[in-house]
């Protein structure tokens, strides 16, 4: 109510009730809509329609760091708020993936591991060389435990994707997501703010009769793009496909192997209560069968919230609890070995695929077990069906969260809040291999458990006051602590051939296919532990002048236990910003609704690893203790990011046209480096802080809304981001740069003057005339170093374009996104050449060889040196680096809402949805947005990665 303290929130269907007197002014506002004022008359029921205003946020409250709500126009930094709809319409199993292309500069790269996998989130470029580059994930003001138990960081294979926190959130629980893009926006998070923050606000509890919302999402999935195979030439050796022409064309084994996937994502919620007590309950369930046969992802997600108002709302108490479990079976992971895709792709053309498919095991009477049935016994690839049934990786993840908060409104100006959240995560990963799996004639046991925990608490004292109409103050002082612990237990037993000699088992195992520790003579058990505590004091103040100009200051001091033993555990992180709302100072005409300039500067930190300052001895086999191989880092300092940004927010033509532009520059110094030491001095490495990584860029969003007729509305939005990364300085001690990742024949290397993501490759050597140099065997000579910088795995430009149309109750939405520039590497394509199964290798044979210097060379001999047969082959990777520029139809939705189907405001909306439908432009043979893992340096690299899938299906939403 205008000029009053009363107010309320609508429920999902827009209903609300509020006590009012005639003559009062009701102010209705909602994110994404224009605010409306209605004078109350004697009538009891008011119906009001708000006009959509997709990106006008000028008067809207925005969730900022620590969950402090501020007026959008008062902000001095870039942020973008997206409604819950943006993740609950065309759903993805990992909700962050639904934000792809929807926010300028938000780069999301899902791991190529299917459902249950993690996604790399990057805001404003890579800043940290050896540290974390992922933004903080914050739910209702409290940082979420975002641990990852396992990620791929080698092309060898057999590694896995341990998932991330975002995939545990039910999209239907979300009210809005605010992206704090830069360090300035996140500055109040101090020591962990460098990479920005994703602030998730969950749906609030509502008063009124219980409302139920049901949502059901069913999609099918198919590979978006597959490699091209040759099907004409067979195999001589049941290994490679370099043999004679086949009498009839072979099958496309990859196509036969992959299946149509399906995902059922259902959720239901109930919300209601009275003025003093409200509750919210939701349950979400996902069942996903991926395109890999026998792959399965299941998830259950319970969420509950309770809210009590006491003493006339002077005291508000809320409580929330969440439980999530996930079960992933046969999750894909990049790499050569232990990857069923390798077998399906490389299977010798013309051999009896169906036999091995239908009979992946055969009975061995002498051993009294079933043994793997496969065409050969090489390590490169095994029977994919054996792998999917007898080498099954299974991960069971569980997560519990309990949180509560209390808010005491001491006066209109002053309030105090306290919050506490305990999170516990468990993962049980089992990857037992049956006897006769490669290298393990008697099988292998691998059984790992991970326990993680985070306890967060804070107290905030808030003060808001408007002084005599001219000045306003919005200030908060507070303190927080975060305690994180991680534990792991791993059991590992390997079985060689078994027989018993002198009563002792020879080969480390008693019986095949019994996966319990006692079955193994020696079981390599190990434990891991980490603990960290971060204590903080912080304060922020925002001073406003007549709602025309604002100054925003934050200060935070952090004490981190990871800095113990350094002599200085305390670090200070300040930020300052200001804005001017020019249209309030001068008359810019009635077509200008907002014209705001803003600027900010901040210094923030990045997370630091534990124990480095206090390295101890480790205990190895036979009681041997081992001194630390690295010198303890006694003067460790956290990374420091200096960030500056300038921006413009403007709205024109009755807020129909909105423009937001931000330019930024960040410099991240005190980078953490490992420097090799002469081993003779007693250490392998020592650590230093040095370097300067710079990111400069521009983010722009423009949106426009038009009502053609009262029934027909069009909204379009374009977002664009440019980021230029430069390694200004490394350290004089690393003259050859830092190698972040090696893929065999290629590596990602950082050098002074270069940029993060530069990829260096081996290549075919040429003489001065440009002719390819040949060896005495007549095949191309390959450089013996990765000495050619061929490009960068990151693109400088990313963009997205949304369009939505509404005609009566029909709606259509389209999202195209893409990136310009950058490279991707495909070791898959390379290996297909080396094994003679690629279409390229078939075409070359059709042509009588590969043309080199105008002469034809035998195809097999050529690819034998240019391409890799093995994960550690050093090949001419330069031949397999592709332009990553691509644009795709990311999302499409067409639907209809049946209004008042079962009564007033009891609606059903039905839509057909699609994701990743097709490429509008792409040069690489695979999806260039491929990613092996979250690890720095493993995006844009395809090593037998699961193909990206397109999905399409039906979405139903029902309110009653």
């Amino acid at each position: 109510m205008k000029d009053k303290t009363t107010g309320t929130i609508t429920n999902e269907s827009g209903h609300f009730s509020v006590d009012a007197n005639a003559g009062d002014i009701l102010v209705i506002s909602s994110i994404g809509y224009k605010t409306r004022e209605i004078v109350i008359t004697e009538q009891n029921i008011i119906e009001a329609t708000l006009i959509s205003e997709e990106t006008v946020m000028a008067d809207v409250m925005v969730t900022t760091a620590l969950g402090i709500k501020r007026q959008s126009k008062s902000l001095t930094y870039a942020s973008q708020t997206l409604s819950g709809n943006s993740v609950s319409e065309a759903k993805d199993v990992n909700l962050i993936n639904s934000l792809q292309g929807k926010s300028a500069g938000l780069v999301i790269t899902p791991n190529s591991t299917g459902a249950g996998g993690a996604s790399k989130i990057l805001l404003r470029g890579n800043k940290s060389i050896n540290g974390n580059n992922q933004p903080l994930i914050v739910v209702d003001g409290v940082p979420l435990m975002n641990n990852t138990n396992a990620q791929v960081n080698s092309n060898y294979g057999g590694q896995r994707d341990g998932g991330d926190a975002m995939s545990t959130i039910n999209p239907d629980d979300i009210a809005s997501i605010t992206i704090l893009k830069g360090a300035s926006a996140a500055a109040l998070y101090g020591a962990v703010a460098a990479n920005g923050a994703i602030m998730i606000t969950t749906k609030s509890t509502l008063s009124g009769l219980p409302k139920v919302q049901f949502s059901s999402n069913t999609v099918v999935e198919t590979p978006m793009t597959l490699p091209k195979f040759q099907t004409k030439y067979g195999s001589n050796d049941n290994l490679f496909s370099w043999g004679n022409k086949l009498p009839s064309e072979a099958k496309n084994y990859a196509k036969d192997y992959l299946r149509t996937g399906s995902t059922f994502n259902n959720s239901v919620s109930i919300n209601g209560g009275n003025e003093n007590m409200q509750g919210y309950l939701s349950y979400g369930n996902i069942l996903s069968n991926g395109i890999t046969p026998n792959n399965e992802f299941k998830s259950n997600n319970f969420n509950s919230k309770l809210n009590f108002n006491l003493f006339d709302k002077a005291l508000q108490i809320d409580f929330s609890a969440r439980y999530i479990d996930q079960n992933v079976k046969n999750q894909a992971a990049s790499g050569f070995l232990f990857n069923p895709l390798t077998g399906a792709y490389l299977f010798p053309r013309g051999a009896d695929w169906d036999k091995y498919k239908n009979e992946y095991e055969v009975y061995d009477p002498t051993r009294n077990i079933n043994v793997q049935n496969w065409i050969n016994v090489q390590e490169q690839f095994q029977n994919p069906y054996w792998m999917l049934n007898r080498m099954v990786p299974v991960s069971n993840r569980t997560r519990f969260e309990f949180g509560g908060g209390i808010r005491w409104n001491i006066s209109n100006e002053l309030h105090i809040t306290g919050r506490l959240r305990q999170e516990k995560g468990e993962e049980h990963f089992v990857h037992n291999l049956y006897a006769t799996s490669f290298r393990y004639p008697m099988g292998r046991m691998k059984d790992e458990q991970f326990f993680s925990q985070q306890l967060y608490g804070d107290v905030l004292l808030g003060y808001n006051k408007t002084f005599e109409g001219d000045f306003s103050l919005n200030a908060t002082v507070g303190s927080s602590f975060t305690k994180t612990t991680g534990k792991s237990v791993s059991l590992w037993g390997e079985g060689e051939q078994a027989h018993i000699v002198n009563g002792k088992v020879e080969g480390n195992i008693w019986y095949p296919n019994v996966f319990i520790p006692a079955n193994f003579y020696t079981n390599m058990a190990s434990q891991g532990y980490s603990e960290k505590r971060l204590n903080s004091l912080f304060a922020t103040a925002q001073l406003g002048f007549k709602q025309k100009a604002y100054i925003d200051v934050t200060a935070r001091n952090d004490w981190s236990s990871a800095l113990a033993y350094t002599g200085n555990m305390s670090f200070f992180y300040p930020s300052i910003g200001g804005n001017l709302i020019l249209n309030e100072f001068m008359n810019m005409g009635e077509n200008v609704n907002l014209f705001k300039l803003r600027a900010s500067y901040s210094v923030v930190g990045n997370d630091i690893p534990v124990y480095l300052t206090n390295l101890q001895y480790t205990l190895g086999a036979n009681g041997a203790i081992q001194p630390p191989e690295n010198a303890p880092f006694k003067d460790l300092k956290p990374e420091k990011t200096h960030s500056r940004e300038l921006g413009l927010d403007a709205a024109f033509f009755d807020n129909r046209l909105n423009v937001n532009i931000t330019a930024y520059k960040t410099n991240t110094i005190n980078q953490f480096f490992t420097i090799q030491s002469p081993y003779s001095a007693g250490f392998r490495n020592r650590y230093i802080n040095a370097g300067d990584v710079q990111n400069k860029g521009l983010e722009a969003t423009i949106s426009y809304n038009k009502d053609f007729t009262p029934d027909f509305e069009w909204t379009t939005g374009l977002n664009f981001a440019y980021n230029d990364n430069k390694i200004i300085k490394l350290t004089d001690e690393l003259k050859d740069g830092v190698s972040l990742a090696g893929y065999g024949g290629a590596q990602m290397k950082l050098l002074e003057g270069g940029s993060y993501g530069d990829i260096y490759v081996r290549h075919i050597l040429r003489d001065n005339q440009g002719n390819i140099k040949l060896t005495t065997n007549g095949v191309p000579m390959i450089s013996d170093q990765e000495d050619l910088k061929i490009g960068n795995l990151n693109s400088k430009i990313t963009m997205g374009w949304t369009n939505s149309f509404k005609y009566k109750e029909y709606f259509l939405s389209l999202l195209i996104d893409g990136r310009i520039g950058g490279k991707s590497l495909s070791m898959t394509e390379a290996a297909l050449d080396a094994w003679g199964v690629s279409k390229r290798s078939g075409d070359a044979r059709d042509n009588g060889g590969v043309v080199v210097n105008g002469q034809k060379i035998d195809t097999k001999a050529y690819y034998g040196v240019v391409a890799p047969t093995n994960f550690n082959s050093q090949y001419a990777a330069a031949e397999y680096v592709y332009d990553a520029t691509n644009f795709r139809m990311r999302e499409m939705g067409l639907g209809y809402t049946f209004r008042n189907l079962f009564g007033t405001a009891k609606n059903l909306s039905v839509s057909f949805i699609g994701r990743n439908l097709f490429f509008l432009y792409k040069k690489a043979p695979m999806d260039p947005d491929v990613s092996a893992s979250l690890t720095n340096g493993w995006q844009g690299v395809d090593i037998f990665a699961l193909p990206t899938t397109r999905s399409f299906g039906l979405n139903l939403k029902l309110n009653f």
């Binding site: 195999s235 001589n236 050796d237 290994l239 043999g243 090489q378 390590e379 107290v459 004292l461 002082v477 303190s479 927080s480 602590f481 060689e496 000699v501 002792k504 020879e506 480390n508 003579y521 020696t522 434990q527 891991g528 532990y529 603990e531 960290k532 204590n535 903080s536 004091l537 004490w559 236990s561 800095l563 113990a564 555990m569 305390s570 534990v610 124990y611 206090n614 101890q616 001895y617 480790t618 205990l619 086999a621 036979n622 041997a624 203790i625 081992q626 090799q676 002469p678 081993y679 003779s680 001095a681 007693g682 024949g745 390959i782 013996d784 034998g864 047969t869 093995n870 550690n872 050093q874």
Partner: protein, 544 residues
């Protein structure tokens, strides 16, 4: 306002408290040696003589010294990155350096003075013997290495000449032997005597065995210097034998691998094969140790057309050195492998070796307490018997060896010459036999021929201790090893003389360049595989 101040003060007190941070930042699953008995720190160096970790094991010698010893050969070449074709890889060549410094010498050099301070002279003495053993491997591989500066914990790590290192090593083993003798003479308590067994993986706490090992190492070093400093060699060798070296009353010194014989892994990974030289010498002479050392081919060998040319388990097949083999998978992966099992112990020092050392000393006219012929024949007998004792259990049908069979072998009746090498997968790798001297001792033969017999048999007996094999091959030229087929050393290594040393690790280049350059100056030649180390003189010309 007072409330606010109080609130802020309370927060300050609450959250700037960092009292427990030291405890939090200490990993509970790691250990502090201060809380443990001193023996805990002495275990590792002894174990790492055969690195008890599969990756370190491969890196330590399996990618370098093992190939040049004539025992092993990689059945592919790591995409052109391996050492097999003499295009030396600084990373792979740095394995010896890495293991020696990080896992052995840095610990021994620190612990010896600590043990001495604590009057644990037997611990110090034993640790010094282990250090000597490992230092010989390191200096023999590279030439000059950092020794004195590490012992002295100098801030500046400088290089010593191999001559200075050998001089110091003689002193060290002599000191160890005398300290151990004094220790036993001091009537130590039973508890003190038992202490050694707490960390002694080599001799299970047997002090007198350690004295013999010290003397044997002295004899080994003396023989190594026989060409560069004959007078010193004679003195040291005679002193060592007089003081008491290992005899066949003593056991071979082995490390019990307790289910983790890492050599098995090298073959499991397809990254190690058996050298053509070893296979053809074993098969050609009808060596009774053949099935104990190596197996027949582990899989079908197929030709380019995919036809099986050698069925699984039918032939002993070795891999010729330096053939620029294609990446795995390839045909050579299925050749022979070492017979070792997970449980097979790995040898540190074999008693048989000592007889061959004494045989050579006697041949050189030193007082070794016997004749060359007797030592030679006893060496063969001891080797075969001991191998059957401890390797036979690795066979699927364990066997005993008859004395008569051994005698037949010694008399040269089981085979007369090395076999020609025939590579079924690629005939261009074939090579004619190089060793045609029979096993049977011939008093009328030249000293050179006698030495060839002694060293060839020592080489066979020492399998798989590749440092001794390679060092003695370099010193004497025996047994004659097949040269590499392709020499990609850019002319730095002579194909017929073969590789003479490992190149220094890239770690030293990156981190200690100034001192390394001085070290290369001491080496007296460029840092490549063709430069000879100090004791490597007159190679291929004459041994006398």
């Amino acid at each position: 306002m007072r409330q606010l101040t109080a609130f802020i003060l309370a927060l300050l007190v609450l959250n700037s408290c960092t009292k427990k941070f030291g405890e939090i930042n200490t990993n509970p699953y790691e250990v502090n040696p201060a809380n443990l008995t001193i023996e805990a720190q002495l275990v590792k160096p002894m174990a790492y003589v055969y690195a008890p970790h599969q990756n370190m094991f491969q890196f330590y010698t399996n990618l370098s010294v093992d190939l040049f010893s004539g025992y092993f050969m990689t059945p592919h070449n790591f995409g052109g990155n391996g050492n097999a074709d003499y295009r030396l890889n600084r990373g792979f060549c740095g394995g010896v350096y890495e293991n020696y410094y990080l896992n052995i010498f840095n610990i021994t050099s620190k612990m010896i003075p600590i043990c001495e301070d604590k009057k644990l002279t037997d611990y110090a003495a034993v640790t010094r013997i282990v250090q000597t053993y490992a230092t010989i491997v390191a200096t023999d591989s590279y030439g000059p290495i950092s020794f004195k500066s590490v012992v002295e914990r100098s801030p500046n790590i400088y290089y010593d000449s191999q001559k200075d290192i050998y001089t110091q090593l003689f002193k060290d083993v002599e000191q160890s032997a005398s300290e151990l003798k004094d220790f036993l003479a001091s009537n130590p308590s039973a508890d003190r005597i038992a202490g050694l067994a707490k960390f002694d993986q080599w001799c299970n706490g047997d002090h007198s065995l350690w004295i013999k090992i010290a003397n044997t190492l002295k004899l080994r070093m003396a023989i190594r210097l026989s060409k560069v400093d004959a007078a010193l060699a004679k003195t040291k060798a005679e002193e060592a034998v007089a003081a008491g070296v290992l005899t066949d009353a003593d056991p071979d010194v082995v490390i019990d691998k307790n289910q983790s014989n890492e050599l098995t892994r090298m073959f499991d990974w397809g990254d190690c094969g058996v050298n053509a030289s070893l296979v053809t010498i074993l098969t050609g002479y009808g060596d009774p140790r053949l099935p104990l050392y190596i197996t027949q081919n582990t899989g079908d060998v197929k030709n380019a057309q995919g036809n099986v040319i050698v069925a699984k388990g039918t032939q002993y097949l070795g891999v010729r050195a330096g053939c620029t083999l294609p990446n795995k998978p390839n045909a050579w992966e299925n050749y022979s492998r070492a017979t070792v099992k997970y449980t097979t112990p790995l040898p540190v020092m074999k008693v048989a070796e000592i007889y061959f050392l004494r045989a050579e000393g006697a041949l050189r006219g030193w007082n070794m307490g016997g004749t060359a012929k007797n030592f030679y024949e006893q060496g063969i007998r001891t080797s075969i018997k001991n191998e059957y004792k401890y390797l036979s259990s690795s066979l699927s049908n364990p066997q005993a060896i008859a004395d008569a069979t051994i005698a037949q072998y010694i008399n040269g009746e089981l085979g007369r010459s090395q076999n020609n090498y025939v590579d079924p997968a690629d005939a261009s790798n074939n090579y004619a036999a190089m060793n045609t001297l029979s096993v049977k001792w011939d008093d009328a033969a030249s000293n050179e021929q006698k030495l060839q017999r002694i060293i060839t048999q020592k080489w066979l007996a020492n399998f798989p201790i590749s440092n001794e094999a390679w060092a003695e091959f370099r010193r004497t030229g025996y047994p004659k090893l097949y040269p590499v087929k392709n020499n990609l050393s850019d002319g730095t290594i002579d194909t017929n003389k073969q590789i003479r040393r490992l190149i220094y690790s890239n770690v030293e280049y990156n981190t200690n360049k100034t001192e390394l350059d001085k070290g290369i100056g001491i080496l007296g030649g460029p840092d490549n595989g063709g430069t000879q180390v100090w004791w490597d003189t007159n190679a291929g010309v004459s041994n006398f």
